[in-house]
Protein backbone atom coordinates (compact mmCIF):
# COMPACT_ATOMS: atom_id res chain seq x y z
CA UNK A 1 0.00 0.00 0.00
CA UNK A 2 1.30 3.49 -0.77
CA UNK A 3 1.00 6.32 1.70
CA UNK A 4 -1.29 8.02 -0.79
CA UNK A 5 -3.70 5.04 -0.73
CA UNK A 6 -3.63 5.07 3.05
CA UNK A 7 -4.19 8.84 3.15
CA UNK A 8 -7.20 8.55 0.83
CA UNK A 9 -8.71 5.77 2.91
CA UNK A 10 -8.15 7.66 6.17
CA UNK A 11 -9.09 11.06 4.71
CA UNK A 12 -5.86 12.83 5.52
CA UNK A 13 -5.06 16.12 3.87
CA UNK A 14 -1.67 16.50 2.13
CA UNK A 15 0.27 19.53 3.41
CA UNK A 16 3.70 19.01 1.85
CA UNK A 17 6.09 16.58 0.20
CA UNK A 18 3.97 15.59 -2.78
CA UNK A 19 6.95 13.89 -4.45
CA UNK A 20 6.85 11.14 -1.83
CA UNK A 21 3.18 10.16 -1.92
CA UNK A 22 3.94 6.87 -3.65
CA UNK A 23 6.18 5.73 -0.78
CA UNK A 24 5.14 2.25 0.34
CA UNK A 25 3.79 1.84 3.90
CA UNK A 26 3.96 -1.39 5.85
CA UNK A 27 3.78 -0.21 9.45
CA UNK A 28 3.11 2.64 11.83
CA UNK A 29 4.93 4.44 14.63
CA UNK A 30 3.41 6.88 17.12
CA UNK A 31 5.38 9.37 19.22
CA UNK A 32 6.26 12.99 19.91
CA UNK A 33 9.62 12.83 21.69
CA UNK A 34 11.83 13.31 18.66
CA UNK A 35 15.01 11.79 20.06
CA UNK A 36 13.00 8.72 21.02
CA UNK A 37 11.31 8.40 17.64
CA UNK A 38 14.64 8.89 15.88
CA UNK A 39 15.98 5.58 17.16
CA UNK A 40 12.77 3.57 16.94
CA UNK A 41 10.60 4.44 13.95
CA UNK A 42 11.34 2.05 11.10
CA UNK A 43 11.75 2.55 7.40
CA UNK A 44 8.32 2.06 5.81
CA UNK A 45 6.42 3.29 8.87
CA UNK A 46 3.88 6.06 8.68
CA UNK A 47 4.70 8.28 11.67
CA UNK A 48 1.83 9.79 13.65
CA UNK A 49 2.75 12.80 15.76
CA UNK A 50 1.80 16.36 16.74
CA UNK A 51 5.29 17.75 16.08
CA UNK A 52 5.25 19.81 12.89
CA UNK A 53 8.64 21.52 13.12
CA UNK A 54 11.84 21.33 11.12
CA UNK A 55 13.39 18.86 13.57
CA UNK A 56 10.50 16.46 12.94
CA UNK A 57 11.26 16.55 9.21
CA UNK A 58 14.90 15.77 10.01
CA UNK A 59 13.85 12.82 12.18
CA UNK A 60 11.60 11.57 9.36
CA UNK A 61 14.51 11.81 6.91
CA UNK A 62 16.85 10.05 9.31
CA UNK A 63 14.44 7.23 10.16
CA UNK A 64 13.38 6.96 6.50
CA UNK A 65 9.68 6.82 7.37
CA UNK A 66 7.15 6.83 4.52
CA UNK A 67 5.54 10.01 5.72
CA UNK A 68 4.24 12.04 8.66
CA UNK A 69 0.66 12.52 9.81
CA UNK A 70 0.05 15.55 12.03
CA UNK A 71 -2.90 14.55 14.19
CA UNK A 72 -5.45 16.82 15.89
CA UNK A 73 -4.82 19.42 13.18
CA UNK A 74 -1.44 20.30 14.67
CA UNK A 75 0.35 22.88 12.57
CA UNK A 76 3.22 22.42 10.12
CA UNK A 77 5.80 25.22 10.43
CA UNK A 78 6.66 27.15 7.29
CA UNK A 79 10.34 26.12 7.21
CA UNK A 80 9.34 22.52 7.91
CA UNK A 81 6.94 22.58 4.94
CA UNK A 82 9.67 23.90 2.67
CA UNK A 83 12.06 21.20 3.79
CA UNK A 84 9.48 18.42 3.47
CA UNK A 85 8.85 19.56 -0.11
CA UNK A 86 12.60 19.56 -0.82
CA UNK A 87 13.13 16.12 0.70
CA UNK A 88 9.94 14.65 -0.78
CA UNK A 89 8.65 13.59 2.63
CA UNK A 90 4.84 13.60 2.51
CA UNK A 91 3.23 15.38 5.47
CA UNK A 92 -0.51 15.00 6.07
CA UNK A 93 -2.89 16.49 8.57
CA UNK A 94 -6.02 15.10 10.19
CA UNK A 95 -8.48 15.98 12.95
CA UNK A 96 -8.62 12.75 14.96
CA UNK A 97 -6.14 12.18 17.79
CA UNK A 98 -3.15 9.82 17.73
CA UNK A 99 -5.12 6.85 19.07
CA UNK A 100 -8.00 7.23 16.65
CA UNK A 101 -5.63 7.76 13.74
CA UNK A 102 -3.51 4.74 14.70
CA UNK A 103 -6.67 2.63 14.89
CA UNK A 104 -7.57 3.78 11.37
CA UNK A 105 -4.11 2.89 10.09
CA UNK A 106 -4.40 -0.54 11.72
CA UNK A 107 -7.71 -1.17 10.00
CA UNK A 108 -6.16 -0.42 6.63
CA UNK A 109 -2.79 -2.17 7.04
CA UNK A 110 -4.18 -5.32 8.65
CA UNK A 111 -6.79 -5.77 5.95
CA UNK A 112 -9.51 -5.36 8.58
CA UNK A 113 -11.18 -2.55 6.65
CA UNK A 114 -11.37 -4.75 3.58
CA UNK A 115 -12.95 -7.61 5.55
CA UNK A 116 -15.42 -5.27 7.21
CA UNK A 117 -16.45 -3.92 3.81
CA UNK A 118 -17.40 -7.43 2.69
CA UNK A 119 -19.80 -7.98 5.58
Amino acid sequence: MTINDLAQACRWKLLAGEDGIDNPVDGCYVGDLLSWVMGRAQSGNVWLTVMGNLNAIAVAALADVSGIVLCEDSALDQDAKKRADMQGIPVYSCGPNLYQTAAGVYEQLSGLAEQLAKI
Binding site: L34, S35, W36, M38, N53, L54, N55, I57, A58, A61
Partner: protein
Protein backbone atom coordinates in the same frame (compact mmCIF):
# COMPACT_ATOMS: atom_id res chain seq x y z
CA UNK B 1 16.09 13.57 24.70
CA UNK B 2 14.78 11.99 27.87
CA UNK B 3 17.44 13.66 30.02
CA UNK B 4 19.19 16.97 29.52
CA UNK B 5 22.42 15.33 30.65
CA UNK B 6 22.36 13.35 27.39
CA UNK B 7 22.28 16.63 25.50
CA UNK B 8 25.29 17.78 27.50
CA UNK B 9 27.12 14.60 26.52
CA UNK B 10 26.24 15.22 22.89
CA UNK B 11 27.38 18.85 22.87
CA UNK B 12 30.58 17.95 24.74
CA UNK B 13 31.28 15.38 22.03
CA UNK B 14 31.09 18.22 19.50
CA UNK B 15 33.68 20.09 21.58
CA UNK B 16 35.94 17.04 21.61
CA UNK B 17 35.54 16.66 17.85
CA UNK B 18 36.50 20.32 17.53
CA UNK B 19 39.84 19.55 19.17
CA UNK B 20 39.13 21.20 22.54
CA UNK B 21 41.68 20.74 25.34
CA UNK B 22 39.47 22.27 28.02
CA UNK B 23 35.70 21.88 28.28
CA UNK B 24 33.72 23.75 30.92
CA UNK B 25 30.23 22.56 31.81
CA UNK B 26 28.08 24.84 33.94
CA UNK B 27 24.69 23.97 35.41
CA UNK B 28 23.10 26.93 37.17
CA UNK B 29 19.69 26.83 38.80
CA UNK B 30 17.81 29.78 40.22
CA UNK B 31 14.67 28.69 42.05
CA UNK B 32 13.42 32.27 42.54
CA UNK B 33 13.76 33.15 38.86
CA UNK B 34 12.64 29.67 37.75
CA UNK B 35 15.62 29.10 35.47
CA UNK B 36 18.01 26.26 34.83
CA UNK B 37 20.89 27.28 32.64
CA UNK B 38 23.28 24.81 31.05
CA UNK B 39 26.35 25.97 29.21
CA UNK B 40 29.17 24.08 27.55
CA UNK B 41 32.27 26.13 26.75
CA UNK B 42 35.28 24.85 24.85
CA UNK B 43 38.57 26.08 23.44
CA UNK B 44 38.22 24.05 20.25
CA UNK B 45 38.65 25.33 16.75
CA UNK B 46 35.39 27.27 16.75
CA UNK B 47 33.11 28.07 13.86
CA UNK B 48 32.70 30.72 11.17
CA UNK B 49 29.67 33.05 11.45
CA UNK B 50 28.10 31.08 8.57
CA UNK B 51 28.51 27.80 10.44
CA UNK B 52 27.07 29.32 13.63
CA UNK B 53 24.07 30.54 11.68
CA UNK B 54 23.37 27.06 10.34
CA UNK B 55 24.21 24.94 13.34
CA UNK B 56 20.63 24.89 14.66
CA UNK B 57 19.38 23.66 11.28
CA UNK B 58 19.13 19.85 11.46
CA UNK B 59 19.88 19.53 7.77
CA UNK B 60 23.24 21.22 8.26
CA UNK B 61 25.91 18.97 9.69
CA UNK B 62 29.67 18.57 9.60
CA UNK B 63 29.24 14.81 9.52
CA UNK B 64 30.09 13.11 6.29
CA UNK B 65 28.44 9.82 7.18
CA UNK B 66 24.90 11.18 7.07
CA UNK B 67 23.14 14.35 6.06
CA UNK B 68 21.19 15.12 9.22
CA UNK B 69 22.49 16.39 12.59
CA UNK B 70 19.98 16.75 15.41
CA UNK B 71 22.07 17.26 18.55
CA UNK B 72 22.08 21.05 18.63
CA UNK B 73 18.60 21.49 17.08
CA UNK B 74 17.00 19.23 19.68
CA UNK B 75 18.78 20.95 22.58
CA UNK B 76 17.51 24.30 21.29
CA UNK B 77 13.98 23.00 20.82
CA UNK B 78 13.88 21.49 24.31
CA UNK B 79 14.90 24.82 25.87
CA UNK B 80 12.46 26.85 23.80
CA UNK B 81 9.59 24.45 24.48
CA UNK B 82 9.82 25.33 28.18
CA UNK B 83 9.76 29.06 27.40
CA UNK B 84 13.53 29.34 27.74
CA UNK B 85 16.21 30.39 25.29
CA UNK B 86 19.23 29.11 23.43
CA UNK B 87 22.41 30.64 22.07
CA UNK B 88 25.69 29.67 20.49
CA UNK B 89 28.67 31.98 20.41
CA UNK B 90 31.75 30.91 18.55
CA UNK B 91 34.96 32.34 17.24
CA UNK B 92 37.20 30.61 14.76
CA UNK B 93 40.39 29.51 16.49
CA UNK B 94 39.11 30.39 19.96
CA UNK B 95 36.20 28.11 20.78
CA UNK B 96 32.48 27.82 21.25
CA UNK B 97 29.98 28.48 24.03
CA UNK B 98 26.60 26.76 23.84
CA UNK B 99 24.00 27.95 26.35
CA UNK B 100 20.48 26.65 26.90
CA UNK B 101 18.18 28.24 29.47
CA UNK B 102 15.16 26.28 30.68
CA UNK B 103 12.07 27.16 32.75
CA UNK B 104 11.88 24.17 35.10
CA UNK B 105 8.25 24.86 36.10
CA UNK B 106 7.08 24.29 32.50
CA UNK B 107 5.10 21.10 31.86
CA UNK B 108 7.41 20.46 28.90
CA UNK B 109 10.53 20.57 31.08
CA UNK B 110 12.79 17.57 30.57
CA UNK B 111 14.58 16.37 33.72
CA UNK B 112 18.26 17.17 34.08
CA UNK B 113 18.96 13.49 34.66
CA UNK B 114 22.30 12.02 35.62
CA UNK B 115 24.57 14.99 34.98
CA UNK B 116 27.19 13.61 37.37
CA UNK B 117 27.29 10.39 35.34
CA UNK B 118 27.81 12.44 32.19
CA UNK B 119 30.69 14.42 33.71
CA UNK B 120 32.30 11.31 35.17
CA UNK B 121 31.98 9.48 31.86
CA UNK B 122 33.49 12.39 29.93
CA UNK B 123 36.55 12.41 32.21
CA UNK B 124 36.85 8.62 32.11
CA UNK B 125 36.68 8.48 28.31
CA UNK B 126 38.94 11.49 27.71
CA UNK B 127 41.65 11.38 30.39
CA UNK B 128 43.98 13.54 28.30
CA UNK B 129 41.51 16.45 28.20
CA UNK B 130 40.66 18.90 30.97
CA UNK B 131 37.17 19.45 32.26
CA UNK B 132 35.65 21.97 34.64
CA UNK B 133 32.20 21.19 36.00
CA UNK B 134 30.46 23.93 37.93
CA UNK B 135 27.07 23.53 39.51
CA UNK B 136 25.20 26.18 41.45
CA UNK B 137 21.80 26.63 42.98
CA UNK B 138 20.17 29.80 44.24
CA UNK B 139 17.44 28.75 46.65
CA UNK B 140 14.01 30.30 46.91
CA UNK B 141 15.39 32.30 49.85
CA UNK B 142 18.23 33.64 47.70
CA UNK B 143 21.07 31.57 49.19
CA UNK B 144 23.80 30.60 46.75
CA UNK B 145 25.16 27.08 46.93
CA UNK B 146 27.86 25.89 44.56
CA UNK B 147 30.67 23.45 43.94
CA UNK B 148 33.01 22.56 41.13
CA UNK B 149 35.23 19.78 39.85
CA UNK B 150 38.46 20.72 38.05
CA UNK B 151 40.58 18.05 36.45
CA UNK B 152 43.60 20.39 36.48
CA UNK B 153 43.45 20.32 40.29
CA UNK B 154 43.10 16.54 40.28
CA UNK B 155 46.20 16.28 38.10
CA UNK B 156 48.19 18.43 40.54
CA UNK B 157 47.20 16.22 43.45
CA UNK B 158 47.74 12.95 41.56
CA UNK B 159 51.05 13.91 40.04
CA UNK B 160 52.08 12.73 36.57
CA UNK B 161 51.89 9.00 37.14
CA UNK B 162 48.20 8.40 37.85
CA UNK B 163 45.90 8.92 34.85
CA UNK B 164 42.46 10.47 35.32
CA UNK B 165 40.79 7.27 34.13
CA UNK B 166 42.34 5.09 36.85
CA UNK B 167 39.52 3.16 38.62
CA UNK B 168 40.25 4.76 42.00
CA UNK B 169 40.11 8.23 40.48
CA UNK B 170 36.79 7.50 38.76
CA UNK B 171 35.38 6.22 42.03
CA UNK B 172 36.61 9.31 43.87
CA UNK B 173 35.06 11.60 41.22
CA UNK B 174 31.73 9.77 41.49
CA UNK B 175 31.67 10.06 45.26
CA UNK B 176 32.79 13.69 45.22
CA UNK B 177 30.04 14.62 42.74
CA UNK B 178 27.38 12.62 44.59
CA UNK B 179 28.24 14.15 47.98
CA UNK B 180 28.39 17.70 46.71
CA UNK B 181 25.19 17.33 44.71
CA UNK B 182 23.39 15.99 47.78
CA UNK B 183 24.61 19.00 49.79
CA UNK B 184 23.65 21.41 47.02
CA UNK B 185 20.13 20.02 46.78
CA UNK B 186 19.59 19.41 50.50
CA UNK B 187 16.02 20.42 51.35
CA UNK B 188 15.53 21.73 47.79
CA UNK B 189 15.13 18.79 45.40
Amino acid sequence: MRELSLNVMDIAQNSISAGAGLITIEVREDRGEDTLSISIRDNGRGMTPEQVEHVTDPFFTTRTTRSVGLGVPLFKMEAEMTGGSFSIQSKLGEGTVTTAVFKPSSVDMIPLGDINGTVSMLVLMNPELDFIFQRSLITQEGDLREFDLRTTQLREVLGGDVPLNAPDVTQWINEYLAENTAELLAGEA
